[in-house]
């Protein structure tokens, strides 16, 4: 069922500029907080200062009485009591318990931000403090304070607290037999701390609700259709009654795939009868949205003299906040995915704590698992005196290999990536004093999902494309390019717009590395539908068989030797007679785009460690990844570079730090430190292209895989530089120094 056909490209592969570029360099582009509505109120949210507390009562009367305050809401304003969306609602607004520091307990809409803030101070919440737990190890121990009783899933092994809600395991072969065959067996415990997606734009929205129960929402999100569905379900509306428009989005990385303030803004709009704007502060973003998981991981790996991995075992605990998490699957499946192993077994556990509900972050779950697995491979290779890259190549999964999580791989580019690494000058470059080099491979599944695209031939012959996925990194350009390629016309003749939820069918959010793959696929098919319609009409006009009307290089021509219609017609000419031949011409495609090809990447990192301070600097970094086909190489490189640097931040500085009191201690960009320009070298990229059989042009998603290998690549480099195996991320200077001193 291959969709892919090899071809020569004219537009695809060029470094063309995006349609939203000028707006974004001039400040004209409108992001979430850049919208105003007539008569708009400003909302603020009151948040729990406690990690875990029963809410005995909330007295909002004084706040409501403050002149200028138009609405105050609490959980009592949301009738939803159970079902699929109850966790989401509870995360947006606490019920009878506040479950983490920063959990919303009430919200106010007033005529100014200042008044809204003032009103928050007048709300009296009576809390009864409950025992809390934020640390993963403490949370899994029997006797730990339990966040939610009665939600332990079936099949979870005994011996843990009820915070361990989910268990998944994968693998094949006999690991005990495999360890017997090994010449060296390495075994260690690894830890990673929680990070935040760290998008620079805080969540923001503007909500209106009419007296007729119909609403409009302007919001920065990765998926306005998902936001619509969630908000409609939480507020008990029909989806058709809520139109959601996606603003330009200032970064998401998985963190903007869900609701956090939107249902509150809508409820305030409903209660006040006015438009309501709600913009989060950075402190709120860090305390109450996003973060990713923290982990506790045990890995055991056996290798023989030849470098063959004889057995691999990983036990992975994922702390995912105060609600049921889903990261364990996505850690346990990809941990050893780059390798063809005879004996492999991985186990994932989801663990609840008094922390905000974790959200997806680029390949959710995979980076920590890959860090532990790739560290173990590195250590075994080192003990056997083997080249770590050669070992990876020897064990690499190929087309036809059975993956560690089950299925047999179709064509993919891991071996090509490893070979590219071997040939890259970086791999052979000399290292200075206190420097070390690390390498790691990484994997992500990629995703397709529900997708709609409509393309229209305008009266002047230009093409408008509507799609339903917010554009975070240039996807409108890539989609226009694919349509231009398919139609054989210049890129400039096509313009792609992200339509609102009232204008398109359901679309999965911009996640799972799906947009260039899935929306691209639907766009190509929409273009084909336009061509088919044009051929059909011209066959009628020229009185020939449809097979005699061919579409080439942007023109229809007649190949019937008996026809006198010899002059080809271009889009402008076709558009000019559209009304005469049946009416406006358009093509659309709606599909559940299954068949996203997996994506592998290989990273090489050089680090220098200051033996006095434990400070680590990245001296050189190379990302090699299979993109299937890079539609716009600049944007592919951008994904590889950006993902790598987020991974570097995870490896080196980013960390949620909780106090004994269960409060987040670093809820600002000063103390939650993401990489800055002076921390980094240039990030070299190599794009490998092994076509994905599931896409007409061979595209694979590229957005997520780049964050998978860096944790391991950097840790392996630091280990090489220091001789101390790095088992706890981030490798902050005190942690590294302590390791050096213990040596």
């Amino acid at each position: 069922m291959s969709q892919y056909k090899a071809r020569k490209f004219n537009v695809v592969g060029q470094r063309l500029q995006r349609p939203d570029g000028i707006d974004k360099v001039t400040g004209r582009a409108r992001y979430g907080a850049d919208m105003d509505a007539a008569g708009m109120l400003h909302a603020k949210v009151l948040r729990s200062p406690h990690a875990h507390a029963r809410i005995i009562s909330i007295d909002t009367s004084a706040a409501a009485a403050l002149p200028g305050v138009m609405a105050v809401i609490t959980r009592a304003d949301f009738p939803l009591a159970s079902g699929e969306y109850i966790d989401l609602l509870d995360h947006c607004m606490a019920g009878d318990r506040a479950l983490y520091d920063g959990h919303a307990v009430a919200a106010v809409a007033a005529t100014s931000k200042r008044l809204a803030k003032q009103a928050l101070k007048l709300i009296k919440v009576d809390y009864e403090l409950l025992p809390h737990v934020t640390d993963i190890e403490a949370a899994i121990a029997p006797g730990a304070p339990v966040i939610h009783a009665g939600v332990v899933g079936r099949g979870v092994p005994k011996g843990y607290s009820d915070n361990v809600t989910r268990f998944r395991s994968f693998g094949h072969g006999d690991i005990e037999a495999g360890f017997q065959q090994a010449d060296v067996v390495v075994e260690r415990t690894y830890r990673t701390e929680a990070t935040h997606q760290g998008y620079i734009e805080p969540h923001a929205c503007v909500a209106t609700m009419g007296m007729d129960g119909r609403g409009d929402l302007w919001v920065c999100t990765q998926g306005h259709f998902a936001i619509r569905n969630m908000c409609a379900a939480i507020l008990g509306m029909e989806s058709a009654s809520l139109r959601v428009t996606a603003s330009e989005i200032g970064g998401g990385f998985g963190g903007k795939t869900t609701v956090c303030i939107e249902p509150l803004a809508l409820a305030l709009a409903k209660k006040s009868g006015r438009a309501v704007k709600l913009v989060m502060t950075r402190d709120e973003v860090l305390r109450a949205t996003g973060p990713t998981v923290s982990t506790l991981m045990h890995v055991k790996l056996g290798m023989n003299q030849a470098g063959r991995i004889t057995a691999a075992y990983a036990q992975l605990f994922y702390q995912s906040g105060a609600y049921r998490g889903y990261a364990a699957d996505f850690g346990a499946m990809p941990a050893f995915a780059p390798y063809a192993l005879e004996n492999v077994h991985t186990e994932g556990f989801d663990v609840m704590t008094n922390r905000p509900k974790s959200a997806a972050y680029r390949a959710p779950g995979a980076p920590p698992a890959c860090y532990a697995a790739e560290s173990a491979i590195d250590e075994a290779a080192h003990q056997l005196g083997l080249d770590p890259l050669a070992v990876r190549l020897l064990n690499a999964a190929r087309e036809g290999s059975k993956s560690s999580y089950g299925p047999t791989y179709a064509a993919h580019g891991l071996v090509e990536c490893l070979q590219a690494a071997q040939q890259h000058p970086h791999w052979r470059a000399p290292l200075g004093e206190n420097m070390g080099r690390g390498i790691a491979a990484g994997f992500w599944f990629n995703f397709g999902g529900d997708t709609c695209v409509s393309a229209f031939l305008n009266p002047d012959g230009s093409i408008s494309v509507s799609e339903g996925n917010p554009d975070i990194g240039g996807s409108r350009a890539s989609i226009s390019m694919m349509v231009a390629e398919e139609m054989g016309i210049p890129y400039e003749q096509v313009r792609t717009t992200v339509a609102d939820t009232g204008s398109m069918g359901q679309n999965e959010p911009t996640h799972g590395s799906r947009v260039t793959f899935a929306v691209g696929l639907a766009a190509i098919k929409s273009a084909r539908a336009i061509i088919a319609e044009i051929r059909h009409r011209l066959a009628q006009l020229w009185e020939v068989d449809i097979d005699s009307v061919v579409w080439q290089q942007g023109c229809a021509s007649c190949t019937d030797p008996n026809s006198e219609h010899k002059a080809p017609m271009d889009l402008r000419q076709v558009a000019a007679i559209a009304s005469n031949t049946g009416g406006p011409i358009g093509g659309h495609h709606e599909v559940n785009a299954e068949g996203a090809g997996v994506s592998f990447g290989v990273h090489i990192a050089d680090t220098e460690v200051d033996p006095q301070t434990g400070h680590i600097s990245i001296k050189r970094y190379t990302v090699i990844q299979d993109a299937g086909k890079a539609i716009q190489p600049d944007y592919v490189e951008g994904q590889l570079q950006g993902g790598a640097v987020q991974g570097i931040g995870w490896a080196l500085n980013e960390e949620y730090i909780y106090g004994e009191d269960g409060r987040l201690q670093n809820s600002g960009f000063l103390d939650y430190r993401i990489p800055v320009a002076s921390d980094l070298p240039m990030i070299d990229t190599v794009i490998v292209e092994v076509p994905n059989p599931g896409h007409p042009y061979g595209v694979r998603g590229v957005g997520e895989t780049p964050i998978v290998p860096p944790l391991a690549a950097v840790a392996n480099a630091v280990t090489a530089a220091t001789g101390v195996r790095q088992v706890h991320l981030p490798m902050s200077p005190p942690r590294v120094l302590a390791g050096l001193q213990a040596k």
């Binding site: 069922m1 079936r154 099949g155 268990f167 998944r168 395991s169 994968f170 693998g171 094949h172 990385f253 998985g254 963190g255 795939t257 889903y326 699957d329 996505f330 499946m333 077994h345 186990e347 959200a359 997806a360 972050y361 680029r362 390949a363 959710p364 999580y405 089950g406 299925p407 047999t408 791989y409 179709a410 992500w444 599944f445 990629n446 995703f447 999902g449 996640h511 799972g512 590395s513 799906r514 559940n592 299954e594 068949g595 996203a596 599931g694 997520e704």
Partner: protein, 81 residues
Amino acid sequence: MASIQIFTSLQYLFNNQTEIELDVANLQQLLTRLPQAYPQCAQEVANGISVAIDGRIVNDAWFTPIEPNSEVVILPRISGG
């Protein structure tokens, strides 16, 4: 008959088999017949699973064909960030 691989932690719902055989020709038939043949797994199937058919991960597309010699692997539901 297609042979269907079950990931480790789900095998207890399938009498501890790593692989089962079912007579199915597409994903919809698989999703219908799995809980009929193994009622214990009904809850998991209802909660959502992914199925890899010949190496391609399929979440929902019911009419995806399953050939008699297809490789079918049950997986937890795949999404992304």
